[in-house]
């Protein structure tokens, strides 16, 4: 008898996509723990010193970056390398701008509610944990950009792009929950 090794033909991208979504569910619980701590410790009140204009501005920047990220993903699916690179770069810039905005927020927060106060604890932990995710997203986008410049992605190799962009959207969606939790909630 002959031994023939046959691989099960299955769709790797589908499996990776499931893995990524499972990762998002898991990460969602991390933010759930931090966000629910805010309500436990601070109820529905919020300090007056929050810089509402800055908060709204960085939220807008981050939401806009999701648009450019989406355009980058769509263009690689259509094989448009130039458009992909331009939009990836735009996403990197918007993401970095968001991080600069968070740094400005932190500079103000150190004056009004430093980390050893109750609201400061919540504020620095939530923005810090989210900012860390944005930073890692920017690093991934930079990898994507440099690989893209060498033409490593195309209609037959889209998974790295899809994975990083999905992660970027996830980080955005998390901010959609953190922003009202920090800036808008009031009794």
């Amino acid at each position: 008898m002959q031994t023939v090794r046959v691989h099960v033909p299955y769709d790797h991208t589908h499996t990776r996509r499931i893995g990524l979504w499972l990762f998002f569910i898991s990460e969602g619980f991390l933010f759930l723990a931090l966000i629910s701590s805010r309500y436990y410790l601070f109820g529905l009140s919020r300090p007056e010193e929050l810089n509402q204009a800055l908060g709204l501005l960085i939220t807008t920047i981050l939401l806009l970056s999701s648009l450019t990220a989406y355009r980058a993903e769509t263009s690689i699916l259509h094989g448009d390398q130039g458009m992909f690179l331009r939009n990836t770069l735009a996403t990197i810039l918007l993401g970095s701008l968001f991080l600069v905005g968070v740094a400005l927020e932190w500079a103000e927060a150190f004056r009004f509610f430093p980390p050893h106060t109750r609201f400061g604890t919540i504020f620095f932990t939530l923005t810090g944990m989210h900012g860390f995710h944005v930073l890692s997203g920017v690093v991934l986008l930079v990898f994507l950009y440099f690989h893209g410049r060498r033409g490593r992605f195309g209609v037959t190799n889209t998974w790295p792009v899809e994975g990083v962009i999905k992660y970027w959207h996830f980080v955005d969606v998390v901010w959609v929950f953190i922003y009202p939790t920090l800036y808008l909630v009031s009794s």
């Binding site: 008898m1 002959q2 031994t3 023939v4 090794r5 046959v6 691989h7 099960v8 299955y10 589908h14 499996t15 499931i18 893995g19 499972l22 990762f23 569910i25 898991s26 990460e27 619980f29 991390l30 759930l32 723990a33 931090l34 701590s37 436990y40 410790l41 980390p115 050893h116 106060t117 109750r118 400061g120 604890t121 620095f124 932990t125 990898f143 690989h147 060498r150 490593r152």
Partner: protein, 615 residues
């Protein structure tokens, strides 16, 4: 050289640690803070150190090079040295987990022996109160890690891809990563001995965990790392079971052990983040001066207990669901009968998963939680007895009128049922608020969870180890020694832990190295039983070592079982199956003529091809 990857991991890890710690010193100098505070430096240096270790031990070669557009480097190592490599074969990783956690189990058991020596007589015996608390905490956390990871990481990794007819896990490199995160955990926990220890127990409640020795920081980092490992493992199992089942392996034909791993992985994937979050908050309070749990600055210590138990109560089902699955996997094969009420059993598993998320506050009945929460959490907790009852009915229905083959794995599975019944029934007294107010923090609780976790999960672990030993090693264990181990362990386990219920009712507090002199004789009896229980593992270890080295060759299917892993040679070849098996029937249909579970490829196997030969 055999240990070159591990050495490189250590060197890269040390470099990462110096880089992170050095950066932290620089930042502290710039901010005008005192530069050389050990705790923040260890905390910050640890994460780049961990990254360095993982890259050095093999993640760089088989993984990270890809990110920089370099070709990956894989070594083909098939002898014993592969157990010391960043190997992606699920069978090797399973053995790595299993051996690591059996060693940790014996270490934590040794700590338990030290505790029992101390408790032989009232008053100080051989150690100080502080050292007792540290040893008690070490025993707790290491045993928790064993309970969480030994079945899932060890037997799950080895058996799940085989049981579903897959070649490997869905993400083999993530699988290797989740194993190689374990050695840093063990090293950190052991090194707490050099950092003043930690005396907060495995629960790490603040305020104590925010003011005690730096050992607490090492504990927190270790458990965060361990949580990361179990999240990655859970993700991998879910993706594997969702995507890599062989053709014909429908959800109604899935072996029950696979179902239990699937259910437990849901809890691991999600709830573990709460443990990581809680321990991170403690670190932030300690190192960044934040105030989550610091009541003096407006924090809430009770918040920690909510966050902690939101993980740690579901976590007991991470431990016990795979144990249920393992026992129920073994019962039909050794009763030569179909698994009774299979769909109800699966429903029971998911009932447990759902309920496990809404019972956590029953740990807080005496903590100062609002009274109006007592009733609802008592009710949800007691509801769990319904799905658990389904599991028990299924087990009893399976062995009912069966032709029981009382081999060692079967004995351990039956021992599991006996012990877990006691553990479950005594749990009701802890779930009921009126009795719990009296029993909280006494030895009654210690007796209860040792009956569920040691009597349950550890007995199932041994059942699984004996059951799959011939498949894992290709050799047969010694049946006489196996049975000796079972009866020795079963009897001494019960004589050790049953008297603890009595001690608890008479008010002996847990986690304290001293007790009223009137309880001396019972404690002496427990200690002597515990030493006998400890010595039973000498039988186990010698059986394993001798049989692995020179036991008789095992047949491909020594138990005449129908599931897929027994249809390939022992040990299975590198890619498991010569061709994807075709699953055509239920795995447990013993006693049905012409019933077939699967058609396994053209070579290897026992030749029986899943056909029942006994019933």
């Amino acid at each position: 050289m055999a240990f070159a990857p591990i050495l490189r991991g250590l060197v890269w890890g040390a470099l990462g640690f110096l880089l992170g710690g050095g950066g932290a010193v620089l930042v502290r100098l710039l901010l005008g803070l005192p530069a050389f505070q050990p705790e923040p430096l260890i905390t910050i240096g640890y994460f780049p150190g961990l990254l360095g270790w993982l890259l050095g031990v093999g993640a760089w070669d088989v993984w990270a090079r890809e990110w920089f557009g370099l070709p990956v480097r894989r070594e083909a190592v098939y002898d014993w040295r592969r157990y010391f490599r960043f190997t992606t074969d699920h069978k090797v990783i399973g053995v790595q987990y299993l051996v690591t956690f059996v060693v940790l189990f014996l270490l934590a058991g040794f700590f338990a022996m030290l505790m029992r020596i101390e408790l032989m007589a009232p008053g100080p015996t051989i150690m100080s109160a502080g050292l007792y608390n540290h040893i008690m905490s070490m025993h707790g956390i290491i045993m928790i890690a064993v309970a969480v990871a030994a079945i899932i990481g060890g037997l799950g990794n080895f058996a799940v891809p085989l049981l579903i007819g897959a070649e490997d896990m869905a993400f083999p490199r993530i699988n290797a990563l989740s194993y190689w995160l374990i050695p840093p955990v063990a090293v950190l926990l052991v090194s707490t001995f050099f950092a003043g220890g930690f005396d907060s127990g495995w629960t790490a409640y603040p305020p104590l965990s925010e003011v005690n020795a730096p050992g607490q920081v090492l504990f927190n980092l270790a458990v965060i790392t361990f949580g990361f490992s179990s999240i990655l493992g859970a993700l991998n199992f879910l993706a594997t079971i969702l995507r890599l089942r062989a053709p014909g392996m429908t959800w109604r034909r899935l072996p029950i052990f696979v179902w239990s791993i699937f259910a437990a992985s849901f809890i691991s994937l999600t709830a573990t983040q709460f443990l990581a979050a809680g321990l991170l908050m403690i670190l932030l309070d300690r190192e960044a001066g934040m105030t989550f749990f610091n009541a003096a600055r407006g924090g809430a210590p009770l918040l920690y207990q909510h966050i902690f138990w939101f993980y740690s109560h579901p976590a007991v089902y991470i431990m016990i669901l795979p144990a249920f699955g393992l026992a129920l996997e073994i019962l039909p094969h050794f009763s030569r009968k179909p698994l009774y009420a299979y769909p109800w059993l699966v429903a029971g598993f998911f009932g447990i998963v759902f309920l496990s998320f809404i019972v956590w506050a029953h740990h807080l009945f005496t903590s100062g939680m609002p009274d109006y929460l007592h009733g609802p959490f008592m009710a949800t907790t007691e509801l769990i007895s319904i799905p658990t009852g389904l599991v028990f009915l299924s087990a009893l229905g399976t062995i009912w009128m069966g032709r029981l083959r009382l081999k060692t794995p079967m004995l351990f599975a039956l021992g599991f049922l006996f012990n877990f019944l006691i553990g479950g029934v005594t749990g009701i007294f802890n779930a009921d608020v009126p009795t719990d107010l009296h029993l909280q923090d006494t030895y009654f609780v210690v007796g209860h969870f040792h009956f569920t976790i040691m009597g349950g999960m550890i007995f199932a672990l041994f059942a699984g180890i004996y059951y799959w030993f011939p498949k894992i090693t290709g050799r047969m264990y010694n049946e006489t020694l196996g049975k000796l181990h079972f009866w020795w362990m079963f009897l001494t386990f019960n004589t050790t832990f049953i008297p603890m219920f009595w001690l608890g009712l008479f008010g002996m507090n847990r986690r304290i190295f001293d007790y009223p002199p009137a309880l001396g004789s019972v404690n002496r009896f427990i200690s002597i039983s515990a030493f006998l229980l400890g010595s039973s593992f000498v039988v186990f270890v010698s059986n394993m070592v001798l049989s692995w080295a020179r036991g008789p060759q095992a047949a491909a299917n020594p138990w005449q079982a129908r599931t897929l892993e027994w249809q390939v040679p022992s040990p299975p070849p590198v890619h498991n199956f010569p061709a994807p098996p075709q699953v055509v029937g239920h795995p447990y249909d013993y006693g049905f003529t012409n019933s077939v579970h699967a058609l396994v490829g053209v070579s290897g196997g026992s030749g029986e091809q899943g056909v029942d030969t006994d019933g």
